[in-house]
């Protein structure tokens, strides 16, 4: 929600102007536009796609490639792409090009990081070590290995020197603001840049990610369709993260699967989002499809917890109330009060409650009716467009509180993913199963399996729900 957006005509003239600096990146035209704009951040997961011939050979190369603001700006663009709908197609594709082309480390450089972090060369730390990475990560790369105990693992190795340069880059808030203002005119970038700084500082310390991943892995242990790989703590440090290796199909492949398979995959992703939010009070704030691997019949592995956001009870209560008032109790005034409590809407704004319901109700469209509904790409982008329409009467009175910036990305990212899958489900029934204030009965085969899993866990006293 970009409440500070300037009026439309002005925005347009600014975009149409011939000479801008950083924003040139936004206007490179249709040449590189990817088919599914939201999906281009999928990580490069095929070894052959990595540019080994351009590999980074020294820490100095790394700093040249990703330091001096480049890594930070790439991240900023990625975050902004979730909340800025005006120009992102070209911008996202430009970013994807840069990200896609980010070269890997040479085997020697990657090995030197492992030596620094785990005390010995990877060939000795692990029973087997693949010196060539199989995937790129935002500030590192991922190698396959087999531990001495015989476990197949994915080892994420951070670029040397990147932590220091990124930490220093995000401190240059003045420059980031200028670049953001030039790149995203009309968007209130202050909270975005605060969030960027916080996220990047977290992201450079893999121990935090390991902790978050373990929390999710523990919570979803034994779940029938949701799988989160466990971390191998003794082989993980601030710059090396070792977790179970997962094999599965990539999102691009799933798009070719039968519709029932895609529906089930979508249902699982949707359940993962809702359940993590409402029952675990946490979410992986990077909902891009490169973070999913698919195994058929609705089974999905969730990877990459570098952007996990935890919600307090206070953060979550008004959101839960809003949904309850709007969808269950059909109480517009209650809905409005919840939004005001959360900080989305200024209290006492001189606008009718019907307008509030119309505007903010958008996010709840899929759960309004107790009926099957298909989410198409057109629907997903229409929602987002309407959501960001700055001409509405509420614009002067609305805001995105800091605590919810990531949540916004989750929601928009989720719509995009479900839209790409053209998924059909009775989203309302599924949501009711998970909403703690309803705890409805299972409504699908996956829901039934999930209910059995929950019973089992409760039987063993294992439930980790924060609201159980």
């Amino acid at each position: 929600m970009s409440r500070a957006r300037k009026p439309g005509p002005m925005l347009q003239s600014r975009l149409g102007r011939g000479a801008a600096l950083a924003r040139l990146a936004l206007r490179i035209g249709g040449r590189y536009v990817a088919g599914s704009p939201r999906l281009i951040f999928a990580s490069v997961e095929r070894r052959g796609e990595l540019r080994h011939e351009l590999a980074l050979r020294t820490a100095d190369d790394v700093v040249e490639e990703l330091g001096s603001m480049k890594g930070a700006l790439m991240k900023l663009g990625q975050m902004a792409s979730y909340i800025d709908e005006d120009m992102p197609q070209t911008f996202r594709s430009a970013m994807a090009r840069l990200q896609h082309n980010a070269p890997p480390m040479t085997p020697e450089l990657a090995s030197s990081v492992v030596v620094d972090e785990l005390g010995d060369a990877p060939e000795r730390v692990f029973a087997r070590w693949d010196p060539l990475p199989f995937a790129a990560a935002s500030i590192g790369q991922v190698h396959r290995a087999i531990t001495r105990e015989g476990r197949a693992v994915a080892v994420k190795v951070q670029y040397p020197g990147i932590a220091r340069t990124i930490t220093s880059d995000v401190k240059n808030v003045a420059l980031l603001r200028r670049v953001a203002a030039a790149a995203f005119p009309g968007l209130d970038t202050r909270s975005l840049i605060d969030e960027l700084g916080e996220r990047l500082r977290e992201e450079v310390d893999y121990r935090l990610e390991a902790e978050n991943q373990e929390m999710f892995a523990g919570y979803y242990e034994g779940h029938p369709v949701i799988h989160v790989p466990h971390v191998v703590p003794e082989l993980s440090t601030a710059r090396v993260l070792t977790s179970e290796l997962v094999a599965g199909s990539r999102f691009e492949e799933v798009l070719e699967w039968s519709q029932p398979e895609r529906d089930m995959a979508a249902e699982t992703i949707n359940r993962f989002v809702s359940r993590s939010l409402y029952r675990l009070h946490a979410f992986n704030g990077d909902p891009h499809p490169g973070n999913y691997l698919f195994h058929g019949r609705g089974r999905v592995s969730f990877l990459d917890f570098g952007l996990t956001k935890h919600f307090t009870d206070e953060d979550l209560a008004p959101l839960a109330d809003a949904v309850r008032f709007l969808v269950i109790e059909n109480d517009g005034d209650g809905f409005r009060v919840s939004l005001e409590r959360a900080g989305f809407l200024r209290a006492g704004a001189p606008v009718p409650t019907s307008a509030v319901v119309d505007r903010f109700g958008l996010f709840y469209q899929t759960v309004f009716r107790d009926a099957p509904m298909t989410i198409t790409p057109a629907y997903a982008s229409a929602i987002v467009r309407r959501f960001f329409d700055a001409k509405g009467p509420l614009a002067p009175y609305s805001d995105v509180p800091r605590a919810y910036v990531v949540l916004q990305r989750i929601n928009l990212g989720l719509y995009a993913v479900l839209g790409s899958l053209r998924a059909t489900a009775n989203w309302r029934r599924i949501a009711e199963e998970i909403w703690p204030f309803v705890s409805g009965p299972p409504s699908t085969p996956i829901g039934e399996a999930e209910a059995r899993w929950e019973q089992q866990r409760q039987g063993q006293g294992l439930s980790l729900d924060r609201t159980a």
Binding site: A20, A94, L98, D169, L175, V179
Partner: protein, 280 residues
């Protein structure tokens, strides 16, 4: 403003060159001329070069400068990149074209009343020296491709630039000290209205929106901070505050602009072609 530069970059670095060109992938010139601080060096070059009234008059009176300053700058950048990374034939024909154009560039500078010819080796040497001195200064200070030990060999390598445009080899300085000594020895250095106007456009290009202008002005301030004191005082610029000139924030500023530049079509690919040939 950046698009013409991006196109120049793309076209100057051929996909299938016939040979390694005048310098070759192992040269210091190749390494230095792809440094990300290059745009800053270019701004400083223009500011220094413009302080020779006859060189400035030639540009102001004859080139497309008035109509399209950034197109003109991109053309110069394309020339430098072609001579650097193009094959021998491309470099030589680019130089021949420039020499041919220069034969028509003659006139009288309105300020000094002196006649000039663009093909005058003394003017060409001044322009060459302004470029090389700026690259040495800026890349050493804000780049990563030129350490102190390589500075003299770099200046010596670049002598080819001067020679192919018509400066006798014996006149070209081949060390940093000789280069600076030469520049200090040039007596005809002064600010003219043409130079002031030209540099005002470079430092504050028309058509930028507010946010982009702030970024570009910061870069211009850094360029001012890198000028030799005599040049800065001719322009009447105050010395920028030292914190603006620190290496880390300047590299961040350069990096941000370079990020935008690199995302334009063709730039990344051209850079990769250079990198791959240097690794062969």
């Amino acid at each position: 403003m950046m698009e013409p530069l991006a196109r120049a970059y793309e076209h100057s670095v051929a996909e299938r060159p016939k040979d390694g060109g005048l310098f070759g992938p192992g040269s210091i010139v190749w390494r230095v001329h792809r440094d990300r601080s290059f745009p800053l060096a270019a701004i400083r070059s223009l500011m220094v070069q413009a302080l020779h009234p006859l060189a400035m008059a030639g540009v102001a009176q004859h080139s497309s400068w008035q109509r399209d300053p950034f197109g003109r700058i991109a053309a110069t950048a394309g020339y430098v990149l072609t001579v650097t990374y193009g094959d021998t034939a491309a470099a030589e024909s680019a130089a021949a074209r420039v020499r041919a154009v220069h034969t028509h560039v003659n006139g009288t500078d309105p300020v000094t009343g002196l006649a000039y010819q663009a093909s005058d080796p003394e003017l060409l040497l001044w322009v060459h020296a302004g470029m090389v001195d700026s690259i040495v200064h800026v890349v050493q200070r804000y780049g990563r491709s030129l350490d102190a030990a390589d500075a003299d060999p770099y200046v010596a390598e670049t002598a080819r630039f001067a020679e192919i445009i018509g400066v006798p080899a014996a006149r070209v300085p081949v060390s940093v000290a000789a280069l600076r000594e030469y520049m200090e020895s040039v007596e005809l250095r002064q600010i003219t209205p043409a130079a002031s106007e030209a540099i005002a456009i470079v430092l504050d290009p028309p058509g930028l929106d507010d946010e982009s202008r702030d970024l570009w002005r910061d870069l211009g301030q850094v360029a001012v901070g890198t000028l030799p004191p005599w040049a800065r005082s001719m322009y009447g610029f105050a010395e920028p505050p030292p914190e603006l000139l620190e290496r880390a924030p300047v590299r961040q500023l350069i990096g941000a602009l370079d990020f935008a530049f690199e995302s334009l079509p063709g730039v990344l690919e051209a850079r990769e072609r250079i990198e791959l040939r240097m690794r062969e």
